[in-house]
């Protein structure tokens, strides 16, 4: 059943009441989370007003803050864009952490191998290397899923663990900086070739080329997903494996492609984390998060908040990045343990994602017509309201 024009008109005119509630629901949710956070701050003897002022200031309050937020958002955006690709093909990529690490390692290795190449050659080269490293780490679970029916949640989580050990081995062994001044070496590389430094865009800040790159990639992926045949195929496979297969699409190859591309995006994030960083080295503390800052997981949140649309992921990554950067600023201002900030981040995520229901109910209560609209096929392809882990019925 399709919706007639008359029905659409009615929804338009009568929907504003419900709209207002739904518009306020999201900020209300964020506010509720912050209120709980304020209670926690008070319990610790800190001043919530100082804290939140610092949070907003640190995230968006000055040029330095905005650039810091933008830099923080870059890996989130890249991983998020990769997630958009994967989740739309109905493949759950939880392997962002490992793919970021492999991208970082691959690009670092290249920079160490050919440090003398001039910037315009070396930078694209390391970006390519990083993307390739991440792509490999996505292709493996992709192939395992397509050809051996190994669930990708399992394989990607396991590969995260493998990537960390590869990183520990390489950074403490073949790639280690032997000129470190301490009594014994630490698992970090030497300062990488200055030719590979990502150029800073605004003098006096840390904002580097990576930010522009990430946005360009997001736009490119949006175009890929909605304006190319390959992108259409990917989305089709995501919506229904059987139908796509019946229509003659190479489903298995598409699944591998989806995970490979997602891995490549995360790999790019890894490159930028190394070459856009303040220290221009790759270093590990034995964990993945020590290098990625949990971008592999936070990127999933950013993508889902962006409705699995790369363009909206730009906005959601920026906001999430602001929350992370502002949170650190708040920690410094009110001197609470960083653990509080982590818990607060979790609260915000939970509250915001839960508020969708209130929003939906508000619309339902206000306008019975909305219910009718819900039963009809959406006007746009469903940015999955639920993350479906369904590989489709039966075996492939």
């Amino acid at each position: 059943m399709t919706m007639g024009n008359a029905t659409r008109e009615r929804i338009f005119r009568r929907g504003w009441g419900g709209l207002l509630v739904s518009w306020f629901a999201l900020p209300m949710a964020a506010l509720a989370a912050l209120l709980v956070g304020a209670a926690m701050l008070l319990a610790l003897g800190a001043n919530p007003l100082t804290g939140y002022h610092a949070l907003v200031q640190g995230a968006f309050g000055s040029m330095n803050s905005l650039t810091a937020t933008a830099i923080k958002a870059v890996p989130l955006l890249l991983v998020g864009v990769g997630i958009c690709i994967a989740f739309r093909a109905n493949v759950l990529n939880i392997g962002g952490e490992g793919q970021i690490v492999m991208g970082g390692l691959a690009s670092t290795a290249v920079a160490l191998a050919v440090p003398k190449l001039p910037g315009p050659v070396l930078i694209p080269l390391v970006l390519l290397a990083g993307a390739a490293g991440g792509a490999l780490w996505g292709a493996i679970p992709g192939a395992l899923k397509a050809y051996f029916n190994v669930n990708e949640i399992l394989s990607t989580i396991m590969l995260n663990i493998v990537a960390v050990q590869v990183m520990n081995y390489l950074l403490a062994g073949p790639l280690v900086d032997r000129s470190f001044s301490g009594f014994s070496l630490i698992p970090q590389t030497k300062r990488l070739s200055p030719h590979a430094d990502l150029p800073v865009l605004i003098n006096g800040t840390q904002l580097h080329l990576g930010a522009v790159l990430a946005v360009l990639v997001a736009v490119a992926v949006y175009a890929f997903l909605w304006k190319t045949g390959l992108g259409f195929r990917l989305r089709a496979v995501g919506l229904s494996r059987e139908a796509s297969s019946y229509a003659g699409m190479p489903v298995k190859r598409t699944i591998v492609l989806a995970l490979t591309l997602a891995g490549a995006m995360a790999g790019l994030a890894g490159v930028i984390l190394v070459f856009g960083s303040a220290s221009h080295r790759m270093v590990t503390d034995g964990t993945a998060t020590g290098f990625t800052g949990s971008a592999g997981f936070n990127g999933i949140v950013a993508a889902l908040f962006g409705g699995l649309n790369p363009l909206w992921t730009i906005v959601s990554s920026f906001i999430f990045g602001g929350l992370l950067v502002g949170g650190d600023f708040m920690q410094i201002a009110v001197q609470v343990p960083t653990a509080l900030i982590v818990a607060l981040n979790g609260l915000v995520v939970v509250f915001v994602v839960s508020i969708e229901y209130v929003r939906r109910r508000a619309r339902l209560r206000a306008e019975p017509v909305w219910e009718a609209a819900d039963r009809h096929p959406p006007l746009e392809p469903a940015a999955t309201n639920s993350v479906s882990a369904d590989p489709g019925r039966g075996q492939e």
Binding site: M40, L344, V349, N385, D390
Partner: protein
């Protein structure tokens, strides 16, 4: 290698593998129940951490280990209730809400630990329970029948949950809700109630897993679980949503980790390969799954919130 193949070392390694597997097993069994009914809970690690801290703190102040275990379970139950509200009633995106719960659990457990305890203080561990008769079998007795009570509970839960899933009405309802909630609903099954129950049960088990870990180690530290909750989720897929398979996966993971540790201690794994060896449990789990080539498919309604009429 000859040093490894002695009775003492072998029994110690197997016992170690079982101990390492227990927290995974508990959390993974819980997650299996939830996923079988169609709810994906990625926040397991956070719930384990909160349960672990709760148990630790209780043990620290009351010196009553059983009360500590109870507190751990209760915390899991409360978190399960919250998770159920978010995922089932509020029909939120289960992938995100899980990560949110994980972050909250990670941060909150660490924060409470820093503020309420400060410098770590040890608690007593559960005593080893030797099962009469079988426990005295040389070799095997030490391997399997001389562990603490929580280990036994974990492994006993496997047949219990398998029985519940396969031979009770409740279990049938769970499976129906996980495969086709609309059909189940039309047959009079209360989808929400079933999902609430499995999520609460699952989280309770996760809390128990965390408590088991804290009590087993006799201490708490920031991020005590080190991602065990995520591995537990992964193992559900390995086990094809069946308690027996999940047990197999947990044991595989635990045994490989224990063997790697023993081989490092014995020098069978040279220092230079130390890092590469540490990835063995992960690699072998994936390889095992490829070889076994699972014939089972997942619950069709997994991670899809159910709305009547929708």
């Amino acid at each position: 290698m000859s040093r490894f193949l002695t009775i003492t070392i072998l029994t110690a390694t197997v016992a170690s593998g079982i101990r390492l597997a227990t927290p995974f097993l508990l959390a993974s069994l819980g997650e299996t129940m939830g996923q079988r009914s169609g709810v994906l809970n990625l926040g397991v690690d956070g719930i384990m951490l909160l349960g672990a801290f709760g148990a630790y703190y209780t043990a620290l102040h009351t010196h009553d280990l059983w009360l500590a275990v109870l507190v751990g379970i209760l915390i899991g139950v409360v978190m399960g209730l919250i998770t159920a509200v978010i995922s089932v009633t509020l029909k939120a995106e289960q992938g995100i809400s899980g990560i949110g719960v994980y972050l909250f659990g990670l941060g909150m457990s660490d924060l409470l630990f820093q503020k309420l305890v400060g410098t770590p203080v040890p608690i007593s561990s559960l005593p080893t329970l030797k099962i009469p008769l079988v426990g005295t079998i040389p070799g095997l007795g030490k391997m399997f029948f001389q562990a603490n009570l929580l280990v036994y509970v974990a492994f006993l839960l496997v047949p219990v949950l398998a029985f519940v899933l396969n031979r009770t009405t409740y279990g049938t309802n769970i499976k129906a809700v996980g495969e086709n909630p609309a059909a189940a609903d039309s047959l009079g099954v209360n989808v929400a109630r079933i999902r609430y129950s499995t999520v609460i049960l699952g989280s309770g088990l996760a809390g128990l897993g965390g408590a088991a870990l804290a009590i087993q180690l006799g201490i708490f530290q920031s991020n005590l679980t080190q991602g065990a909750g995520f591995i537990a989720v992964a193992l559900v897929y390995f086990g094809a949503w069946r308690p027996l398979g999940v047990m197999g996966g947990s044991l595989l993971y635990g045994m490989v980790a224990a063997t790697v540790l023993t081989w490092k201690t014995l020098g069978i794994i040279p220092q230079s390969a130390s890092d590469l060896a540490a990835m063995a449990p992960a690699v072998l789990t994936v390889v095992a799954l490829v070889v076994v080539a699972s014939r089972f498919r997942q619950p069709a309604a997994l991670a899809k919130p159910y709305q009547r009429g929708g």
